[in-house]
Symmetry: C2
Subunit: 200 residues, 2 copies
C-alpha cells in the first residue's frame, strides 16, 4: 500500500500454494515485524534449495546428488519399483516404512484434456527403465483419483509386452483420496494387499 | 528427508504464520517442482523488503521512507490521531476510506503477564507526540479484545492531564474481534460513532 517492495513481497508470497492475498499480507507483516532475521534465512534457504536441489536422473525424485540416496541404496530391492505421481508421495510411502524397493516419480498424472500425455508425465523414461530387465514387479502407486487410475490403466497397457508383474496399491486408500494425505497405516495396508492386474 | 537443504527450507517456511510441517513441505515441493523462477523472485522480494522497509520514525507504520507518506500528507488532519496495535490495522482502516487523520502504531498491546508493558508497546513515544500540542483528538483503535481494551483504558489514564479529546472506536466492532479482519463498513460505523471517554 505505502511501499512498492511490500506489495511485491505480498504478490510473490501468493506463489505459495493455498496462500491468498489476505494470508500473503499477514505473512509479509509477520516477516517484517517479528521475523526479520528469519525472513533473510528463509530467502537464503529458498535460494540454496533452488540452486542445489534437482531431479534424480534415475527416479526423478528430488535430490542434491546426481543419483538420489534411495536409488544408490544397495540394501533396497532393485527388482521392485514403485511408481508415484510426485516426490511428496515418496515422502509419504517412506514415512509409512512399508516399502523397501526403488521408486519412479512421474510428473503428475495423464490429463488429455489439459494436453498432458505420456510424454509430459515422463512415461517414456519409465518404460525405458523397465525394459532394462532388472525390474520384476512394478507397483502402481498413482493417486486413487480418476486421473491417477487412468494413469495406472495406461501403464498396465503400456507394459503388457514386458515380462513384469504389475500391481496396484489397493486396499485402504479411500476412493478420491490423494496419496500424500493418507496415514501410514492405510499406506501399509495398501502396499501389503496390492492386487495383481495382469497374468503372471 | 533426502536433502539437508530441503529440510532447512521446510523448517524456514514454518517461520511463516499458520504454516505447519505438512504445509511447509507442500510449499517447498511446490516451489521446487513448479515455481523455481518464482521461488527465486520470492527470495529476492523478501531480501529487498527486509533491506528497505522499516518503521516510520513518526508513526511506526512500515515504510521505505524515513517518514511515511501518510505522515507527510499535508491534506490529512494533523489534529486527529488514530492509535492502532499494528500496521495491518492501518491497512484495514485506510481500506475502509473513513479516516483522514494521522496514525500512531503501537507494538501490539499491553500484556503484563508476558512482561509487555507501556515501554515495550511504545507508549512513551506516543505520549511524547501527544505532548507537542498539535493533536486535538486521539481515537483509540486498539483491538476489541481484552488486551486491546486494557491498552485503551491505560491510555485514557495516561492522557488524563493532556488537553486532548480521547475517543474509542465503538459501534460495529464485534466483541473479541481483531481489527484486521473487520469489514470496511463496520470500520466506517466504528469510526463515525466513536464514543467520548473523558470530559471535554
Ligand atoms: Zn533416485
Ligand atoms: Zn508515519
Amino acid at each position: 500500500m505505502y511501499s512498492d517492495r511490500f506489495n511485491i513481497l505480498v504478490q510473490k508470497l501468493r506463489l505459495l500454494p493455498s496462500v491468498g492475498s489476505k494470508s500473503a499480507q499477514r505473512m509479509a507483516l509477520h516477516l517484517l515485524m517479528r521475523q526479520r532475521t528469519g525472513a533473510l534465512e528463509l530467502a537464503q534457504a529458498i535460494q540454496d534449495a533452488v540452486e542445489h536441489i534437482h531431479e534424480c536422473s534415475v527416479c526423478h525424485a528430488l535430490t542434491e546428488l546426481e543419483v538420489c540416496e534411495i536409488c544408490q541404496d544397495s540394501e533396497r530391492d532393485d527388482a521392485l519399483l514403485c511408481v508415484v505421481e510426485s516426490p511428496a508421495d515418496v515422502f509419504a510411502i517412506e514415512h509409512s516404512g512399508s516399502f523397501k524397493g526403488k521408486y519412479h516419480v512421474l510428473h503428475g498424472h495423464l490429463s488429455p484434456l489439459d494436453g498432458i500425455g505420456p510424454e509430459e508425465v515422463g512415461i517414456p523414461h519409465l518404460l525405458q527403465r523397465l525394459s532394462q530387465g532388472q525390474i520384476k514387479e512394478v507397483i502402481l502407486a498413482t493417486n486413487a483419483t480418476v486421473e491417477g487410475q487412468a494413469t495406472a490403466h495406461y501403464l498396465v497397457e503400456a507394459c503388457k509386452h514386458l515380462p513384469i508383474r504389475i500391481t496396484r496399491i489397493a486396499q485402504g486408500v479411500p476412493q478420491g483420496g490423494e496419496l500424500e494425505y493418507v496415514d501410514s497405516h492405510t499406506l501399509h495396508q495398501a502396499l501389503t494387499h496390492r492386487l495383481l492386474l495382469n497374468q503372471d
